[in-house]
């Protein structure tokens, strides 16, 4: 078998002209730079500190193919079940925007919401600074591959002071096994603007494929952005996601990430509190079973004074599944009066499940408030006994307590349709007679 580098070089040669913006020299240049970087670094290996618990050898071996650029036969009816009421919906099937399944309603003045491919076609200058060759190194081979191959994604721009009240639902659907999908989202929220996005990954069928997505977000001065994510990939899928957030003065950013699907999942969230008084909340819930492996790496850089970060991740691990949580918080020398809190709580429901959790606090400023903690445990036997002493079956008591543990995270979602959807998904895991208890 040829090397991964050769394989992807051939793939690129085969499909480069079908990728959006292929006629733009700067973009072509940027894609080639990504490819060259991948050729050099390849996929991450266990020898890299950041990847030591998560092997992606199976991705390398799989030789997933780029999807054909032509429209596929997905009908709106096939994906309606994933829709969320009261949203602007953009649907991407196998990495390409599908207007037929999407529904973008009236937008306030100052909001640009369109597929990346469309924007590259009509106003490419908006993207030149973001999608061109990058000067700093790619965080991993996946980022480099994404740069070379991204086929579409969302472009959202909010002019200063504009509030987009309707949440934006980005639905990424994979319909076939064997594909490598690289998607890219670009969000620019100018000063004082506000928006909420839902990034939602699903599959038709249970095949193996690679979904490699990167989201790049700038939250301007006093702007407010919420990024909600629901990962429901097929249980054989590989899901790799990056979220990079650049926060300006007084801005607020909220990320709530729910990982329920995927055979192998790796999420990198990097937030830079790059000006004074910026604040971020990073919440997450991963629920794994069988042989699933879900890895979250988060990094928050307190680069300037008076930043606040709140991070809370919970995990529920069953079967022979494995999860990794690595939460890094760096308080830089200039970031006086930073306030950081991080917690990771894990519930191990089986002896064969395994969690590697590592909070990493690096503090270079002296006037700061930082706390962190990680716990790994089983259900509290006293709670189980209390419920049983009231007549509740042991199995039901355990299911109920597990639900309650997870529901703490869904309860924090303000967007009602998504909260309801997640609660339904959690309830789906409960025995019938317990469902009416919650």
């Amino acid at each position: 078998m040829n090397s991964a580098a050769d394989f992807y070089r051939d793939e690129f040669a085969r499909i480069a002209t079908t990728l959006p913006g292929s006629a733009l020299p700067w973009l072509r240049h940027g894609r080639e730079a990504g490819l060259a970087c991948f050729a050099e670094t390849g996929f991450p290996t266990l020898r890299q500190e950041d990847w030591k618990y998560t092997s992606v050898a199976a991705i390398e071996k799989s030789r997933f193919l780029s999807p054909p650029p032509t429209a596929n036969g997905v009908a709106p009816g096939q994906i309606d079940a994933w829709g969320l009421a009261g949203t602007q919906r953009l649907v991407f099937v196998n990495g390409r925007y599908q207007p037929r399944c999407s529904n973008i309603g009236a937008l306030p003045a100052g909001v640009t919401l369109a597929s990346l491919a469309e924007v590259l076609g009509r106003e490419s200058e908006r993207l030149e600074g973001v999608l061109g060759p990058r000067s700093d190194p790619y965080p991993s081979g996946f980022a480099a591959l994404n740069q070379a191959f991204f086929s579409d994604g969302v472009y959202l721009h909010l002019a200063a002071g504009v509030a987009l009240e309707t949440p934006v639902h980005l639905l990424f659907v994979t319909t076939e096994p064997g594909l490598a999908l690289h998607t890219r989202n670009v969000v620019r929220a100018e000063a004082g603007s506000r928006a909420c996005l839902i990034e939602h990954h699903v599959a038709l069928g249970d095949g193996a494929y690679l979904s490699n997505t990167a989201t790049d977000l700038v939250v301007g001065r006093d702007a407010e952005v919420e990024h909600l994510k629901l990962q429901q990939e097929s249980l054989k899928a590989f899901h790799v996601a990056a979220l990079d957030v650049d926060q300006q003065q007084g801005s607020r950013f909220v990320s709530r990430s729910f990982a329920l699907g995927g055979g192998l999942g790796r999420v990198d969230i990097r937030v830079g509190l790059n000006a004074e008084h910026a604040s971020c909340t990073l919440d997450g819930l991963y629920m794994t079973d069988g042989r699933q492996h879900i890895d979250h790496h988060t990094r928050i850089d307190h680069a300037q004074p008076y930043g606040t970060s709140r991070e809370f991740y919970k995990g529920v691990l069953a079967g022979a599944s494995r999860a990794v949580f690595n939460g890094r918080v760096i308080v830089h020398a200039d970031a006086q009066h930073s306030d950081a809190y991080q917690a990771n709580r894990n519930l191990l429901l089986s002896d064969n499940a395994e969690i590697d959790t590592k909070p990493q606090l690096e503090i270079y400023a002296d006037d700061v408030k930082c706390r962190h903690g990680a716990t790994v445990g089983q259900l509290d036997p006293e709670q189980v006994f209390y419920l049983r002493s009231r007549g509740v079956d042991e199995a039901d008591a355990r299911a109920l307590l597990t639900f309650a543990f997870a529901a703490e995270m869904t309860g924090r979602i303000d967007m009602a349709p998504l909260r309801a959807r997640l609660e339904k998904l959690l309830l789906g895991r409960l025995p019938e007679r317990v469902k009416e208890l919650v």
């Binding site: 006994f385 002493s389 007549g391 307590l401 009416e436 208890l437």
Partner: protein, 255 residues
């Protein structure tokens, strides 16, 4: 109703109960008193089926059956109710839903149909009033953030709704203000009946002014050191436990 014979119980190989004998008949109210650490809660937990305790000898019969064979949930469905000394907080599970689950588990066990939502709510609201509790406590998570007194009332609320045959009340009076004590005692008295038995664990004679027991037992060093009528509680109040413990013999005495 309840027959305890020579019950020995250990926790992590440490003997706690060293030969308890106790008989409780239907319609009776028994008070168990005794110094801290003497094993009162241990006894209550073992009767309710807590699995953290090991019964090393003896037997317990309840309504003619071997109680120790039954799972905690089966005991509950057979009519045993433990009001916890330290009620457990269960974040994320609403009080009312636990009540509903408990009621329906009982009814199902007895082959009765589930209560419909309206009847259930009427029943609960009725008992809630009896306990002087706010409706909003129903919709909060079980015991989470409840004050000490609210937790105790909540236990009695559950008891009032479930109407057990054998109620074990472990220091339900501790932490209650005087008014709350009267309310709780009123709730308990309202449930006294010829078919029902109650075992009250308490440190205070005060409770027994409101709920008059048929018998008072003193648990010391893992045994029932002394039993008597309600006047025994008064005597303990005046004299403390020292004389009972002295009469019961040295702590390490063994069986």
């Amino acid at each position: 109703m309840l027959d305890i014979r020579n019950l020995h119980v250990s926790i992590n190989d440490k003997p706690i109960l060293r030969g308890i004998d106790l008989t409780v008949r239907a319609g009776e109210v028994h008070a168990i008193m005794g110094p801290n650490g003497s094993g009162k809660s241990t006894l209550a937990h073992v009767l309710a089926g807590h699995e953290g305790y090991t019964v090393t000898a003896g037997e317990v019969r309840y309504l003619g059956r071997n109680l120790l064979e039954l799972s905690p949930e089966l005991r509950a469905r057979e009519g045993i109710f433990l009001a916890f000394q330290y009620p457990v907080e269960i974040p994320g599970v609403a009080n009312i839903y636990l009540l509903k689950a408990a009621v329906n588990a009982l009814r199902q066990h007895r082959g009765e149909p589930e209560l419909d939502a309206v009847d259930f709510l009427a029943l609960v609201k009725d008992k809630l009033k009896l306990m002087g509790m706010d409706t909003d406590l129903l919709y909060r998570s079980v015991n989470e953030g409840f004050s000490g007194g609210e937790k105790k009332r909540n236990e009695i609320l559950q008891m009032a709704v479930l109407e057990p045959r054998l109620a074990l009340l472990d220091e339900t009076d501790s932490g209650l203000d005087i008014d709350a004590l009267k309310v709780v005692a009123g709730g308990v008295n309202a449930m006294r009946s010829p078919e029902r038995a109650m075992v009250l664990v308490t440190h205070y004679q005060r409770l027994l002014n409101y709920i008059v027991p048929d018998q008072v037992h003193v648990l010391a060093q893992g045994r029932i050191a002394l039993s008597g009528g309600r006047e025994l509680a008064l005597e303990l109040e005046n004299r403390g436990y020292g004389w009972v413990e002295a009469a019961a013999g040295p702590a390490g005495g063994g069986a």
